[in-house]
Amino acid sequence: MKELYRTMRVIRRFEERTVDLVNANEIAGVTHEYVGQEAVATGVCSVLRRDDAITSTHRGHGHLIAKGADVSRMFAELLGRVDGLNRARGGSMHIADLSIGVLGANGIVAAGAPHAAGAAWAFREAGTDRIAVTFFGDGGINQGVLLETFNLAALWRLPLVFICENNGYAVTLSAEHSTAGSMVDRAASYGMPAEAVDGMDVEAVAVSAGRAVARARAGEGPSFVECRTYRFFGHHTAERTMKLGYRTDEEIAHWRERDPLELAGARLEPAERAAIDQEVEALLDESLAFARASERPLAEDALAFNYAALEPRRGVAR
């Protein structure tokens, strides 16, 4: 529990600091905050091994932290520095760490699902018991590529777990207005175990995900878990200026009462909790300092990493 709380706390504070950095123009572009959904990434990744793989989304910071990514290098990535996980080439939407099995965040909804399926298959064919998890949102469940992947995974009994983070909205469209039938039924119709779980309760998530992971590891095929959760802030950092009216203050307040950090924090001794909070703050201070000290990449290297090798490289005179 301490470990789970600690991870959630790192995610929460990482995101809050990230928003500050975006607002201060230290981070370019936009980021999609994970605040409110910490229990999902944390619960799921708590039952994974380092050598298992995940695919993440546009809202990916939480997944990376929970899978064990180095937050110093995450900050460095967001700040566009050479020590970033992606050497400043990816930024928030593409942040990845293949060394710990994070095959990629993704700017395209649900596009990572088949990658996880392919990795899961490769793990099994190699004779290992490694498994893969793919994260996606309630919006993602209406993407063709995901639905096709349900079929491939079930047909080939892949060691794969589908985690749907149902935070109620795809940008402004509510899950109700986007999804016919129930998500659990939809997944179950492919013949895989499917269930919904309270996505604000990290332990509940860990239990559900744990069952799914155990099945996958035992060669019993894929499973689907819908985690019911909520994002406390806008779709992305730019939404603040947009004044959109798709959610009521009451609804937000209602979900904030079930803040996953408060639910988990209440299960700790106050002193224990305070100590963790303090330790996390120190970690983030240090990480951010590391990131800020890291160099910016050189413009002359802008073409690096496009290819493993490309011969001949360019036009005649270029």
Binding site: G80, I108, A170
Partner: protein, 322 residues
């Protein structure tokens, strides 16, 4: 004076008012993140402004089907990459149906991409300028550079009986211009000379039109630059370009799309084949590279005014090859 984005919004509103067959479909179009369809659901009813699930293939095909039985669809794609997901439904279905049915089918669908190109920090999957793919497919493709043209070309696209892709570059969404109150169209396929010149024709695309104009001003004492804005990439206004080149004899194309087989390649190729150039033409384009996140890296792969200046000077120094 209207902002480019507001001009798009006005065109959409006017066309919805003008023709009951017109409807809008896309992600979050009721709340309207980009403002192009803001308020339209309230004004025209939710049945003419459809928020869809994240199902680009299906909703793109849905627009085709509605068009086949008499409606006129306007699809808003939230980001350019969504065109890749709907690619088959656009280039292989909507675009081909008229020919394949021997003229029976009409597919009046407009695909609006409000926010194409790079915007510092949006990285690999949100920075594409994918118009050349549609030019290659032979799909009508529009890329207005000013608010005035944005209104007129978007309206013309909606009224056109064929599929038309309209790209609104991210970098010009805020630019203001005089936009008449009364409805008008800018016909598809007509270019525009923003500034006349005698030494060299610069064909500039989208937001780069403004950049080319700035350069023309900068070098005015030294070089007389004609700034040519195609406005419609397919079909392209060859006549107007031929006239321009007959005056200047020199060509530089300034285009923020990938270089290989890009729009600039087409202009330079046709010019080399058919127009009376007195010096080799030049392209200033994006590198053939994925757009990296860090802003210095991003800038390095995008075409720049400095590169344009170099290309212009270079073409002026050169003569036709012996």
């Amino acid at each position: 004076m209207l902002r480019y984005q507001a001009a798009l919004a006005k065109a959409l509103r006017d066309e919805l008012a003008n023709d009951e067959a017109v409807f809008v479909i896309g992600e979050d179009v009721r709340e309207s993140l980009r403002g192009v369809s803001r308020g339209l659901a309230a004004e025209f009813g939710e049945e003419r402004v459809l928020d869809t699930p994240i199902s680009e293939q299906a909703f793109t095909g849905f627009a085709t089907g509605a068009a086949l039985v008499g409606r006129r669809a306007v699809i808003e794609f939230q980001i350019p990459a969504l065109l890749f997901i709907a690619f088959e439904q656009i280039v292989d279905q909507a675009h081909k149906l008229r020919l394949m049915t021997g003229g029976q089918a009409s597919v009046p669908v407009t695909y609006l991409v409000p926010g194409s190109g790079a915007r510092l920090g949006l990285a690999g999957q949100h920075s594409d300028n994918p118009y050349s793919y549609f030019v290659h497919a032979g799909v009508k493709t529009v890329l207005p550079a000013t608010a005035h043209d944005a209104y007129g070309l978007f309206a013309a696209a909606i009224r056109d009986d064929d599929p038309v892709v309209v790209f609104a570059p991210a970098a010009v969404l805020g630019v203001r211009d005089e936009v008449p109150d009364d409805p008008y169209v800018v016909p598809l396929g007509s270019g525009r000379i923003h500034r006349e010149g005698t030494d060299v024709t610069v064909v500039a695309v989208g937001h780069l039109v403004h950049d080319a104009l700035a350069l023309a001003e900068e070098v005015a004492g030294e070089i007389s630059v004609e700034v040519f804005d195609p406005r419609t990439l397919y079909p392209f206004d060859w006549e107007l370009l031929a006239e321009s080149i007959s005056r200047t004899g020199r060509l530089v194309v300034y285009d923020d799309a990938n270089r290989s087989c890009g729009f600039a390649a087409e202009i330079v190729a046709t010019a080399a084949e058919e127009l009376p150039l007195v010096a080799p033409p030049r392209r200033v384009t994006r590198a053939d590279a994925v757009v990296p996140f860090a802003v210095d890296l991003e800038r390095a792969v995008l075409p720049s005014r400095a590169q344009l200046a170099t290309a212009v000077r270079q073409t002026l120094r050169e003569e036709a090859r012996p």
